[in-house]
């Protein structure tokens, strides 16, 4: 589904991604871990199409389509979703109108008709229950004045509404208390099918207790220096990054 080869990216002349290779198949869950500043959010932003990041080398395909040639909105319509580490507050744009506009665009791209207000509200209600987000928040301005946890849950609500092929969750677990974490994880598990895939960026094993990854990758200084199965995350939690960086860079 997602095929990244030798991806290099820089911002303001500073090299951040230094050759990423990653292959994600339908039905899989991949976790990406790595220390602060290693390039995890950069990878997510480059895939989502943030203009500031220059791609200097490499390729990224989603189901055979060249992501890097598309505008951000086209990537979204093709089925890419990014749950932001820091969701943006947009005063005045009502959460519900925004969701309706986004869903209409994405459905149109898939050749589906616009939902009637009734159908839309029904869908929204179902998905809201999935992430246990209060209706009052749905009626407010987009993310404005939301708590950290509410913002993250709102990201998952959008994910649920837009039903992407590939969802990248950038530290969706940070700032969540254990109850919220369980809600988010169970939401993701319910949304999971054999036709979609998830890339979960996290610092903590905690989330991976609830969402069991098929693969774990360690991103360090712009490269994936180690990949493994879920045991790698446990090992990392136990031994820390030093263990792995000494180990890996020592052998280069």
């Amino acid at each position: 589904m997602l095929n990244i080869t030798n991806l290099h990216s820089s911002i303001e002349g500073k090299k951040i991604l230094k050759g990423i290779d990653l292959k994600v198949n339908a039905g899989e869950i991949h976790a990406i871990m790595g220390p602060n500043g290693s390039g995890k959010s950069t990878l997510a932003s480059v895939l989502a199409g943030k203009a500031e990041y220059e791609v200097t080398e490499g390729e990224a395909f989603l189901d055979g389509k060249n992501l890097l040639e598309m505008a951000p909105e086209e990537r979204a319509r093709e089925g890419l979703f990014l749950a932001f580490q820091y969701p943006v507050e947009i005063p005045g744009v009502s959460n519900i109108n925004f969701l309706k506009t986004a869903l209409t665009e994405i459905r149109a791209h898939r050749g589906l008709p616009e939902l009637t207000s009734k159908e839309f509200l029904k869908l929204l209600k179902d998905k809201q229950e999935l992430v246990e987000l209060k209706s009052s928040l749905v009626n407010r301005s987009l993310n404005e004045g939301f708590s950290g946890g509410e913002k993250k849950r709102n990201e998952i609500l959008q994910l649920a509404m837009l039903d992407p092929k590939l969802a990248i969750l950038d530290e969706t677990d940070s700032g969540l208390d254990i109850d919220a974490l369980r809600i988010v994880a169970s939401g993701v598990n319910k949304l999971r099918t054999e036709n979609n895939a998830f890339v979960i960026i996290t610092h903590y094993q905690r989330l991976l207790d609830y969402i069991i990854p098929d693969f774990v990758h360690i991103l360090y200084d712009g490269r994936i220096i180690k990949s493994g199965t879920k045991e790698l995350a446990l090992e990392l939690e136990e031994k820390g990054y030093d263990w792995i960086t000494q180990h890996e860079t020592g052998t280069v």
């Binding site: 199409g49 947009i90 959008q158």
Partner: protein
């Protein structure tokens, strides 16, 4: 030293004053004639304002003051779009080129009375009030209006009257085949303990020849009266509109005003002055503008806190595209007596073109010590992070930008409490945002 503009139109006006006055001798009171003469000499001396005048620093009228302008003489009422807002349940009063058109207007409900020009001039309590609230010194455009206005009407809300239904004063201007100048005015008196809503729209169908409107509105809001006022400009290109509004607020009165310019008007200048004459008043001012092409909108507001315990809240927001120009000058004076004043003022702009200009000047002058005042002025671009966020949800760049612009202005429109009016203004907003040539770089 003379700093005004003394062009052909100026000379035409100067030459026509005596003749015009001669025809009015038997209609007007001696008082009014005296005021006109005085105003005329001020205008004659000062000329049209130029950018050398402090209050006109950023607004030039020279392109508006065409040589071929003439005073409007003919008032043709036929074939007119009265700009009725169909979804709005309101009493419709139509003024065509400033003159009351009874055949196009609804009957007024109890508690509110309308006086046309003849009736106004016949009642000395009204006629003598003209130009006592707004005074002409140093204000040549106001003086011009006082000297030359032909139509004047009065809206009076009776003491203790609660007028539930809004009154929609629809100012419409006819499309004529010469360039015309229309000076007229209105007086609004909200008596003690009354409450009413006055929605004023300013409209003309598309214009081939320039239309220059000079409108003066004087308002008294008496003790404990509540007056909701709305000004909605839907004038087209080629319209030049200059308004002076002077409002006196008395003890515990409330005045709300919304000032909406989402039209294609070529030039709009508002001088909105609020004098807080007695304690405990509340003044809420909102404004919204989106300017395209080479539109020019200049809002000057002055809230003059002359008494203690008065509250002002002002929010103006605007978006500038193309080569447009917006001016916001918001003065708040807090006089020595005006202790416990609360005054909050804000002007936010989105400047979306390299060639557009904003001059935003909040001007707080505080002479009392126990007050709470704040003001803020921002000029920004579309937030890139917000734009990206919307795009990552499948919303196209253009649509996302419009959504951000819409939300920026909607924040103000949201404060219009009459739902159908809010919808009407939202439609104007969406129409403006969906004009074909609207592109954002």
């Amino acid at each position: 030293m003379k700093q005004g503009l003394y062009n052909n139109f100026y000379r035409y006006l100067i030459d026509s004053f005596d003749k015009k006055q001669a025809a009015l001798t038997y209609i007007e009171s001696v008082n009014l004639t005296a005021k006109r003469n005085e105003a005329f000499s001020i205008f004659k001396e000062m000329g049209f304002p130029t950018r050398k005048y402090e209050e006109w620093k950023f607004t030039s009228l020279s392109a508006a003051l065409k040589d071929e302008l003439q005073l409007m003489i003919e008032h043709d009422h036929s074939l007119i779009n009265t700009n009725r807002i169909h979804s709005l349940d309101a009493v419709h009063l139509v003024l065509v080129n400033g003159r009351f058109a009874p055949e196009l207007s609804d009957a007024l409900p109890e508690g509110i009375t309308f006086y046309d020009t003849q009736a106004t001039l016949a009642e000395s309590r009204f006629a003598d009030k003209i130009s006592t609230l707004a005074t002409e010194d140093d204000a040549p455009m106001l003086a011009l209006n006082t000297a030359f206005f032909t139509e004047v009407s009065v809206l009076q809300i009776a003491a203790h009257a609660i007028v539930e239904k809004p009154v929609h004063v629809s100012h419409v201007f006819t499309v004529n085949d010469i360039a015309e100048f229309v000076p007229y005015r209105m007086l609004v008196i909200a008596e003690k303990h009354s409450e009413a809503t006055i929605i004023e729209t300013f409209h003309s169908d598309s214009l081939v020849h320039p239309l220059f409107v000079s409108y003066v509105c004087e308002q008294e809001v008496h003790e404990s009266a509540v007056l909701h006022t709305h000004m909605i400009n839907t004038l087209p290109e080629n319209a030049y509109f200059v308004q002076h509004r002077e409002v006196f607020q008395y003890r515990n009165s409330v005045l709300n005003n919304s000032n909406i310019a989402l039209s294609d008007v070529t030039l709009l200048r508002n001088d909105l002055n609020f004098q807080l004459k007695d304690v405990g008043t509340e003044t809420n001012l909102i404004g919204a503008y989106i300017l395209t092409g080479d539109q020019h909108v200049d809002n000057h507001t002055l809230v003059d806190h002359q008494s203690p315990n008065c509250n002002t809240n002002e929010v103006y927001k605007g978006i500038l595209l193309d080569t447009s120009h917006a001016v916001f000058n918001g003065k708040v004076f807090v006089r020595p007596d005006a202790q416990k004043t609360n005054a909050f003022q804000q002007n936010n702009n989105l400047l979306l073109s390299d060639q557009a200009t904003v001059n935003s000047k909040p001007q707080l002058e505080i002479f009392a010590d126990d007050v709470k005042c704040s003001h803020g002025s921002t000029i920004g671009q579309i937030n890139e992070d917000a734009l990206f966020y919307l795009q990552t949800r499948g919303i196209g760049e253009e649509a996302a930008k419009k959504l951000i612009m819409q939300s920026f202005i909607f924040d103000v429109i949201l404060r219009i409490k009459i739902e159908s009016l809010q919808d009407y203004v939202s439609d104007l907003l969406n129409k403006k945002l969906n004009t074909e040539n609207l592109t954002v770089v």
